[in-house]
């Protein structure tokens, strides 16, 4: 039983050094399932039973249409149900040690395509044509576009996942990008009726993702444990705040500041990295932990009258370029962050596969051999620190502008830990894994944990268990968070999407010694 469970959770194919894996398949399949159910239920959430608020395939179904519409709607419903349960069915089959054949995949591909088309037809009929010739008695009001969009996306995703299963499994990264990118770009449109809250959340997700991507360079690629990474985030944010706020009466535009933030942070990355060069593992962790504590403390103490003390710097400028008024809607931040994130991801991905990326991995694998093979361990490590810090500084610049106020508390140890958790949980050393980790952990940290109280209250009144409402979940958030991390690491020690190296490495443990230790100077 345990073995079966383990085999089930470990979604990688057994054995073989191939980089192919089914993780992305599972993620996309369950996302499709999730989107379908969200699209189905969204009208109820957005405005339960209010006339004229919601519309979805579900509305169409429950209002018992007649005529040809019936057939279409039922096809839609069947497609939805089948694609919704598909991942569960697959998981169950896997658990039993069997799989679906290619025919099942083909059927689901057709269902997915049919779903996209039919949902589109429904949308056209009601939204564009403004009539319902096919649907008999249905009396829809305003259509909830979000529901339509999400449903269509769910169907399209399902069609992709089941229709191109070998491709999704063989070219994980590409498939993941292809599936997720349009969603990211159209997010503000899909949720145009939803409150700006979602875009704020997406913005903070992007910032945390950038932080994690930067930390991944240091921890994942170069293998240097950094527990004070928030320091560079702070440096970037304060740099941005100083040059775009009333505090020193300088008002530079954001697009300059993101480069400035990145440059200053990378400089500090190199400076702070220098004394740690001979250290490794635990020692390095302690020293970087110190940096992480010092920087916010300096900010609190208003060093050189630059940082505004414990209250930080407020009134940070928000850009206004033509019709793009950043203060008016977070969607501009969202899109800029998306653009910057994509750029960072592409650049880091390129660096990983280039000369320097190889040197980092070599350093991580065996510092002594790397040095004896001609790698300058000093500059290579400093470069990792600098590049990692620059991404963090860039994120900091955005953060300052987004929230308009930075205080020392924003860069506490818990930020470093959260970012490190994202990297480790997502899959250390694997960019795709880190992105996924950022999505999941920011969701948990910023949404699930803070909302636990509200949910339990709602649940208690629904199921009539008053005790549930009395549990003060907010005081247990860290316990829940910690337990989730422990559980995760026990079940999937390589992270959600482990890098190929990590996956094999887990079979054997052991850290290589440092060059300095071998040379007898540390």
């Amino acid at each position: 039983m345990r073995k079966r469970l383990a085999a089930f959770i470990r979604t990688e194919p057994e054995g073989g050094p191939s980089s192919a894996g089914t993780s992305v398949f599972w993620i996309l399949a369950s996302s499709a399932s999730g989107l379908l159910i969200i699209g189905w239920l969204l009208p109820w959430f957005v405005g339960p039973y209010d006339a004229g608020v919601g519309y979805s395939a579900q509305d169409a179904l429950v209002s018992s249409p007649t005529g040809i519409g019936t057939i279409l709607i039922y096809i839609l419903a069947v497609a939805m149900v089948i694609l919704f349960v598909s991942p569960f069915a697959e998981a169950f089959m896997r658990f039993r040690g069997r799989t679906f054949g290619p025919r099942a995949d083909r059927i689901r591909l057709y269902l997915g395509i049919a779903g996209v088309v039919l949902t589109g037809v429904v949308w056209l009929l009601y939204r564009v044509l403004g009539e319902e010739p096919l649907f008999g008695s249905l009396q829809p009001g305003e259509i909830s576009d979000s529901a339509i969009w999400l449903t269509m996306y769910g169907f399209a995703l399902a069609a992709l996942v089941y229709g191109a299963r070998p491709w999704v499994i063989g070219r994980q990264t590409l498939a993941f990008g292809t599936a997720v990118l349009p969603f990211g770009i159209f997010l503000p449109l899909m949720f145009h009726q939803a409150p700006d809250f979602l875009l704020w959340a997406a913005g903070s997700l992007a910032i945390y993702m950038l932080l994690a991507l930067g930390l991944n360079v240091v921890v994942g690629f170069a293998g240097l444990l950094d527990l004070g990474y928030a320091a560079f985030f702070a440096i970037g944010a304060y740099a941005c705040a100083s040059f775009a706020s009333p505090i020193h009466n300088i008002h530079w535009p954001l697009w300059i500041l993101i480069f400035l933030g990145a440059a200053i942070a990378s400089l500090f990355g190199a400076i702070l990295g220098a004394p740690t060069l001979r250290l490794r593992g635990d020692y390095l962790a302690i020293v970087t932990l110190g940096f992480g504590e010092i920087v916010p403390d300096l900010a609190t103490n208003n060093v050189f009258n630059l940082t505004g003390g414990p209250n930080g710097i407020s009134g940070i400028d928000q850009p206004h370029w033509g019709f793009m008024d950043f203060s008016e809607s977070p969607r501009w931040y969202y899109w800029s962050l998306l653009l910057v994130s994509i750029a960072v991801i592409v650049l880091l991905y390129n660096i990983e596969r280039s000369r320097v990326g190889r040197a980092w991995v070599a350093l991580r694998e065996d510092e002594v051999a790397a040095a004896a093979t001609g790698i300058n361990t000093t500059t290579t490590k400093l470069l990792a620190f600098a590049i990692g810090a620059s991404v963090s500084g860039l994120a900091g610049a955005f953060y300052g502008s987004l929230v308009t106020v930075v205080t020392p508390d924003d860069f506490s140890f818990s930020v470093s830990i959260a970012v490190l958790s994202i990297v480790v949980l997502g899959g250390i050393g694997n960019i795709a894994g880190v992105i996924l980790g950022a999505v999941i952990l920011t969701f948990v940290i910023f949404w699930a944990l803070p909302n636990m109280d509200a949910w339990s209250t709602t649940l208690s009144s629904t199921v009539h268990i008053p005790a549930l409402a009395n549990i003060n979940f907010s005081s247990y958030t860290y316990i829940i968070y910690g337990l989730a991390l422990i559980l995760m690491m026990l079940l999937r020690p390589g992270g959600l999407l482990p890098s190929r190296a990590r996956r094999i490495e887990l079979e054997s443990a052991g850290e290589s010694e440092s060059l300095a230790a071998v040379q007898g100077i540390a």
């Binding site: 660096i351 000369r355 190889r358 991995v361 051999a369 004896a372 000093t378 071998v518």
Partner: protein, 260 residues
């Protein structure tokens, strides 16, 4: 002038004299073997030459210029490459990537070239990869080009280490017990490889326990015992040197051989 000179090199670990006042030199195109019982200080001597250990006293010169005190990567750039007795490959890098790391120091690609995948980066990356693949091919490793180093059979890992060392374009190659753990077939291949490298003009400093291999390929042999050089000479000279026999077989052994 000799390519490499060790001039009364001493390396002390606390109270232990691992290498004691050792001098010898190595001419271009020569294969010099360093032999001696375990713990004699051979590997330590290698580590001193490659800059992994700072030496306690003495001097190491390459082309007449002192290299003592230089960091390991600088010494690699000057043309000294090595393998390790206990294989030190980059376990979780593919064989090609392991070899490509050897090309690291002479590649011109900068960080931004890599980040933006400039033409320079792409063309250099391609040509270096090509070279790495052909190097793997020459050593009979092409089948494993895409596997992680640690997934390769032991004997091939030793070869891969040599390939990585060769990728640094060395003038002097230091091999630390390259035949250890190889089967007899692999040993023959290794011997051929060493002969070929010598023919291509590479100078080789070899630590090896397999006497047949040592006697066959070496021009000269240096014998260490307890950190000291106890003999130096041609294979024939060393073979019959009583001090060497003594060091290897214990006191009294030389008399025994003489009387036998």
């Amino acid at each position: 002038m000799a390519l490499l000179e060790l001039d009364s090199v001493t390396k002390r670990f606390g109270g232990l004299l691992a290498v004691s006042n050792v001098s010898f030199s190595l001419d271009r195109g020569e294969i010099l073997s360093m032999i001696g019982p375990n713990g004699a200080g051979k590997t330590t001597a290698f580590n001193c030459v490659t800059g992994l250990f700072p030496i306690t006293s003495g001097q190491i010169r390459l082309d007449g210029v002192s290299i003592s005190g230089l960091p390991p990567h600088r010494i690699t750039k000057l043309g000294i490459a090595r393998t390790f007795q206990n294989i030190r490959l980059f376990a979780f890098m593919t064989a090609v990537d392991n070899v490509m790391v050897g090309a690291h120091w002479w590649m011109k690609e900068r960080v931004w070239d890599g980040a933006f995948q400039t033409k320079r980066a792409r063309s250099e990356e391609r040509s270096v990869q090509q070279r790495a693949l052909s190097l793997l091919d020459q050593l009979g490793l092409s089948r494993y080009a895409g596997s992680y180093a640690r997934e390769m059979p032991y004997g091939l890992q030793r070869k891969l280490e040599i390939a990585r060392a060769l990728a640094t374009q060395p003038r002097l190659l230091l091999l630390d017990e390259p035949a250890a753990g190889l089967n007899s077939h692999e040993k023959v291949e290794l011997m051929q490889l060493i002969a070929r490298l010598r023919d291509e003009g590479l100078t080789i400093l070899l630590i090896e326990h397999d006497m047949r291999l040592v006697m066959e390929v070496s021009h000269r042999i240096v014998v260490l015992d307890h950190g000291e050089k106890i003999a130096e000479g041609s294979p024939a000279e060393v073979r019959t040197n009583p001090r060497v026999i003594e060091a290897y077989l214990g006191t009294g052994a030389s008399e025994a051989t003489r009387s036998a």
